[in-house]
Symmetry: C2
Subunit: 422 residues, 2 copies
């Protein structure tokens, strides 16, 4: 069948790689991907159009919900100023000084299946200055508002840690300023990134993507093996262009490095992105922006353990403590490409490369089976049930048992060829 074709390698072990003989020529796989990409783009443009018009009110839920928006710096500034005027007026009319702060507790959170993300209901509570139990917190709130106002005037970005250090005497420890920062986001009705308070960056991106970072044009096909560090301030990221057919979201940097060195994105046009473990806010914002602007399907490659799926869920439907901002932080419709529990037998991963799940792993797995975002996808339920039943987990790196390049040369191409995602 391969007669007359020049072989790329002379490695004698190559023919013995499991399932390598199932691989069709790249051109066939590329056709499959093009179809997928087009259909996904069509459905995502329609659903994203729906997204834009579909508000929480349209769902006619039995209660009101609160959502924040990406606001410009000048809007944030004027929101703070009008809040200050409102409070001044309240003081002058003898009604005292209090902030009306949205509740972010879990009792006020809700998973909305129609939107596939966690949202915040509209409960809120008063934080009066003239009350011994809230005087400290209302002072901190006023101080944070003042500091954010300064950031608006200067147009710079800072970290939460910077914010804390501007007034250690008042904040005492960083959790206090961090908590109030999220309160302030909710109060002003804007995302935390709109406040110009950014998280430390962890993620990297490589592959078929061109974008601008703070005015500089970045071509991610020309970033060598190291890739481009994902910028902490998403508001200075723009002009995304790509000829990729999909986005490959990778949990860990070892797998990322393998794919970057092999320039996997040139064989199958894609954008490869990783947050090197737990997803950070910058990477989540960046992934969503890519998905929304480029209308590309997202395929996820994570470890076959409950935490792999948990990471997928944070990208997909958000984390609970930032549920007020789930609309901007989540990327809808991420497909679980691998490594899935059923892959372990399917790809004949040797017993010694699988690890026994701990009690804690099994508990986490069972808890996740109760989560709405898992339940809505029957394929995921099946996989997770299998994991909990077999009590086995495996890392992406377990594929190296068949050779260092098995991941990029057999496993992923075969997955793509077979459209083997859920």
């Amino acid at each position: 069948m391969a007669d007359g074709k020049k072989r790329r390698r002379t490695d004698p072990t190559e023919n013995s790689l499991p399932f390598k003989n199932k691989l069709k020529p790249d051109s066939v796989i590329l056709e499959t991907l093009k179809e997928f990409s087009t259909s996904s783009s069509a459905s995502s443009s329609s659903s994203s159009a729906a997204d834009k018009t579909l508000t929480l009110q349209d769902l006619s839920l039995p209660f009101r919900c609160r959502e924040v928006a990406d606001l410009s710096l000048s809007s944030v500034q004027s929101n703070i100023e009008s809040l200050a005027r409102k409070i001044a007026h309240s003081i002058l009319t003898g009604n005292g000084f209090a902030f009306d702060v949205p509740s972010r507790s879990s009792a006020n959170q809700l998973y909305v299946p129609e939107l596939d993300r966690i949202v915040l209901k509209d409960k809120s509570s008063l934080r009066p200055f003239g009350n011994i139990s809230t005087v400290r917190k209302s002072t901190i709130t006023a101080r944070i508002l003042e500091l954010i106002h300064q950031l608006c005037l200067k147009g710079i970005h800072v970290t939460k840690r910077d914010l804390f250090y501007t007034d250690v005497k008042l904040f005492k420890d960083q959790t206090q300023s961090d908590t109030v920062l999220d309160d302030v986001s909710c109060m002003l009705g804007c995302t935390r990134s709109s406040l110009n308070v950014v998280a430390a960056e962890k993620g990297v991106v490589v592959g078929r993507l061109i974008f601008s970072d703070n005015g500089d044009v970045i071509d991610c096909t020309k970033m060598g093996m190291g890739g481009k560090a994902i910028p902490p301030n998403i508001d200075r990221v723009g002009d995304m262009q790509s000829d990729a057919l999909f986005i490959l979201l990778v949990e860990k940097d070892a797998a990322y490095m393998r794919l970057a060195e092999d320039r996997f994105y040139n064989r199958f046009p894609c954008i490869i992105v990783t947050a090197k473990g737990q997803p950070d806010v910058s990477t989540r914002l960046f992934l969503r922006k890519m998905k929304m602007e480029l209308k590309l399907p997202v395929l996820a490659l994570v470890d076959s353990d409950p935490y792999g799926l948990k990471i997928l869920s944070v990208y997909g439907c958000g984390s609970k403590n930032m549920s007020y901002d789930s609309a901007h932080l989540t990327t809808p419709d991420i497909k679980w490409l691998g490594v899935r529990p059923s892959d372990l037998d399917k790809y004949k991963i040797p017993e010694q490369c699988r690890l026994p799940m701990t009690e804690q792993d099994i508990k986490t797995g069972k808890d996740m089976l109760e989560e709405d975002f898992v339940k809505k996808n029957p394929g995921w339920v099946e996989e997770l049930t299998l994991m909990v039943k077999t009590k086995q987990k495996a890392e992406i790196q377990a594929l190296s048992t068949f050779g260092f390049q098995y991941l990029s040369e057999v496993y992923l191409p075969l997955k793509l060829q077979q459209k083997d995602w859920l």
Copy 2:
């Protein structure tokens, strides 16, 4: 004094920034830096020329030392092959199968003041296959050698984790394959990077540097705020060019972000690099390469605590468990710019932004006063003594107490103007 000069900002608090009035015009500071850079380049070219010719033997130490070299892939390959032939010969002549493995224990380590780094003495031990206590370890050694030989043939890079997963049954846990990997480096007389086994990347670089990463030309002035991720494989990094006057080594990413956003490197031409905490091997290799090729002075900005100084020491004179490769991993002559214990009073850092040192901090500080690399620099001893005496520490971020941009607009310029480094 500033009459007739257009003010850049209208922020009324700016004039009240402590010590801002001590700042001279940038042109004066730049002159200072140019002198420093030239003298440092002259001394480093002479010292680096000396470095190249000065071997451990030249020092006529009372014992022999072992050092590894950066070898090409083909040299590593032929070293493995000749080792295999030697062992085959030993078996055929009836002398059995054993590896001669250099000892990497602390008893075999030595700090050499003339070289300012930790080196390995030449003790080694036999690891015979025909002995129940070493049969496992010698089998692992043979397997690692075989895997490295494969990497040489394929010309690809893998992580330690990949290496572990190629034979979990034999290695059992990753510390076993990791340890033998370092043994193999020593046995073959080459650096771990020469084996094409790379560490996960953590570092980022931004500023006045152009280099090539795996064939792609990277201009680090055009990397926005995110910067360029430092590549894991130093052997594919080359063609470094720069018009910088110094390298600014930053401990943490919050400070890095501040400097990147303010494009500090355009006001004072420099290259800004950070490993985001503990220095990883990739960042250490990259820093050394910059220092050696560009002949630039390195100024370090770390937290004012024992760990800040420890981080400086790892960059400067190496970590103990990789002492066999200290020649390639260490960057000589790093200057301690700040934040130094004496800065806390000098810059009037408020009490509430300083943190009390824990018992463990104080013990670490006292232990470090006994380290050779601290003792050789009287200024460092003085600073560290002050820290241990006052029992106070502070993070770089503590400077935010005077405003978010105090670091980039006052503290660092003033430090540079006053040549205030040790």
